[in-house]
């Protein structure tokens, strides 16, 4: 399959939608959440209509169909990220749950899964709140210390003090694989090498990388990654935590309930092996199946092709945006080691006003605000930015429309 954006767009009905007032939709907000191809929607609908039942527990015909489809989705996800074992793929409700699950392990666990006063946790200043707040809560509740990598003016991780920041007291380092604001793709290996040398574990928030580039956990060499279905053409309500088997085995249970147990007595329980140990209660069945269909779709297009397409688009966008007077890009200004997300400010015009006029006048959907990364915005001394985030279905024509839109915004506020 050669990459054909027009063909791809046909799979996403909403991209052909007209908003009230004859505005064709121009969707530049995939970093927030992506649209869904018909293939995903129809897979879910078909399952709900003809094959649905609870998984695991049911032995009847529908139960087997649901269980097989659900577990097949796990196989697909495992293969998609190069997981050594399917049992290392834990379905969560979103990326946030995966990050919290690991953070809670350090509150409830023993030995290397236990932090207290004197222990350190390292994150970075460019994190999404979902990779900040769980660790803040952990630190607060255990007395451990939270530390973080600063960010350079160019929007890259500042590793100058790596050896001081990640040290013998560090239990875990958790950073974004790709920033949802800056677009920066962080280079993992120097941090990982340091973490390994001091015996710390390392987690990646891969929410913005897995949807946009080939990700192989074996190659990455980290201990955990979390990502989320809705940003990769899948439905809401489903996320993934991947972790090394021996670590998952060692971690304490997170949520208790049906399906995560081996045997229960009133006064104690034993737990199922992973992945089920971490999947308490009825899982997001149809959502996992939808995510499986999304993975099939991404594979059919090809993650390399998607990455290449986005690289072209962002190169084009970075060039085109330089024409807009006073526009300041927050993050790398070249298409090197960055993905298809660009955030910017315009002098004297608040992002809310930018977003509203782009939407109302041109049907252009961008995200405005701090994008759940308030500390990063504080670091750049700005309360908010306007963000355009691109995906496989976007085109250079849409970027042209954005630039025209920004000129118009400046006219209104001129």
């Amino acid at each position: 399959m050669t990459f054909d954006v027009d063909l791809i767009r046909k799979d996403f009905p909403v991209l052909g939608r007209e908003l009230p007032g004859d505005r064709p939709l121009i969707y530049l907000d995939s970093g927030n959440s992506s649209q869904k191809p018909t293939q995903v929607i129809e897979t879910m609908r078909d399952h709900l209509t003809w094959h649905y039942s609870n998984v695991g527990r049911a032995l009847h015909a529908l139960g087997s169909e649901s269980t097989e489809a659900y577990e097949a989705a796990r196989d697909k996800v495992a293969a998609f990220i190069g997981a050594p074992s399917r049992d290392e793929v834990i379905f969560t409700k979103n990326a946030s749950e995966g990050l919290n699950l690991v953070a809670y392990a350090f509150q409830n666990g023993t030995d290397r899964f236990r932090v207290g006063p004197g222990d350190e946790i390292v994150i970075s200043e460019m994190e999404h709140h979902s990779n900040i707040v769980p660790w803040q809560l952990l630190a607060e509740r255990t007395g451990a210390t939270l530390r973080w990598f600063p960010v350079t003016d160019e929007g890259r991780l500042d590793l100058t003090d790596l050896d001081e920041l990640v040290n013998e007291r560090t239990k875990i380092v958790s950073v974004a694989h790709q920033s949802n604001v800056l677009g920066t793709v962080n280079s993992v290996s120097p941090i990982l090498a340091r973490a390994r040398s001091v015996g710390a574990l390392m987690m990646l928030d891969a929410s913005q990388s897995v949807p946009h580039q080939p990700v192989d956990v074996t190659e990455l060499g980290v201990d955990f990654i979390a990502f989320t279905g809705h940003k990769m053409l899948g439905p809401s309500g489903i996320g993934v935590l991947w972790g090394r088997r021996e670590l998952l085995d060692e971690m304490p249970p997170f949520l208790g309930g049906g399906e995560m147990i081996e045997a229960v007595w009133m006064d104690h329980s034993t737990y199922a092996p992973v992945p089920h140990k971490f999947e308490a209660g009825t899982p997001p069945i149809v959502e996992a199946i939808g995510l499986g269909a999304a993975v099939d779709y991404l594979n059919a297009v090809g993650m390399d092709a998607i990455k290449a397409h986005e690289k072209e688009l962002i190169q084009y966008a970075l060039d085109a945006l330089t024409e807009v007077p006073t526009l300041r890009v927050i993050g790398p200004r070249t298409a090197i080691s960055r993905g298809g997300t660009v955030s910017f400010t315009l002098d004297g015009i608040h992002p809310h006003d930018v977003g509203q006029i782009l939407d109302d006048v041109f049907g252009i959907a961008v995200r405005v605000g701090h994008h759940c990364a308030r500390p990063l915005h504080l670091r750049f001394g700005i309360p908010a930015t306007t963000r355009a985030s691109l995906y496989l279905y976007n085109t250079t024509a849409e970027i042209d429309a954005l630039v025209r839109g920004l000129h118009h915004v400046q006219k209104v506020f001129g």
Binding site: P20, G21, R23, I349, H350, P351, H352, D353, Q356, I357, D359, D360, V361, V368, G369, H370, R374, H377, P383, A384, V412, F413
Partner: protein, 143 residues
């Protein structure tokens, strides 16, 4: 061309040339309000004497709607009776929370009627209300 109507000339004018901006002494109460969804912030001071609003001073950052709303509030409130301003605040709130279904009372609202278009945009309603809620809070604390 749906929402440009939201950006009334008057709103843009107040945004570009905010009235009474800056924090001034003396004051009876100071409050700080934040709109967490967008990060808009306002610090507001009121000085009340004998049932009359002597000054409304403020400092803030945010979008044109939130900033213009503070400026319009300053103009309407300064010099008016507290009682009077409270009925304006109530009417303004009713208008903004009316999802575009409420017929505004121009008599009561004065210039603030320019925000009628904002009511159709749920996500922006909080921007328009930020300064006005802060004002209500500040007045309550000043007594």
């Amino acid at each position: 061309m749906i929402a440009e109507s939201m950006y009334q000339e008057l709103i843009l004018e107040h945004y570009k040339h905010p009235q009474g901006r800056g924090l001034r002494d003396p004051f009876d109460a100071e409050v700080h309000h934040v709109n967490p969804t967008c990060g808009d912030e306002i610090t507001m001071r009121v000085k009340v004497a004998g049932g009359k609003v002597e000054d409304v001073s403020y400092e803030g950052q945010g979008c044109s709607i939130s900033q213009a709303a503070a400026s319009v509030l300053h103009e309407l409130a300064t010099g008016a009776t507290v009682e009077n301003t409270m009925s304006v605040v109530d009417e303004f709130t009713r208008l903004l929370q009316g999802r575009g279904q409420v017929e505004p009372d121009e008599e009561v609202l004065g210039d603030a009627v320019a925000f009628a278009g904002v009511a159709k945009f749920p996500a922006r309603v909080k921007c328009a209300l930020l300064a006005w809620m802060a004002y209500k809070d500040a007045v309550a604390r000043s007594v």
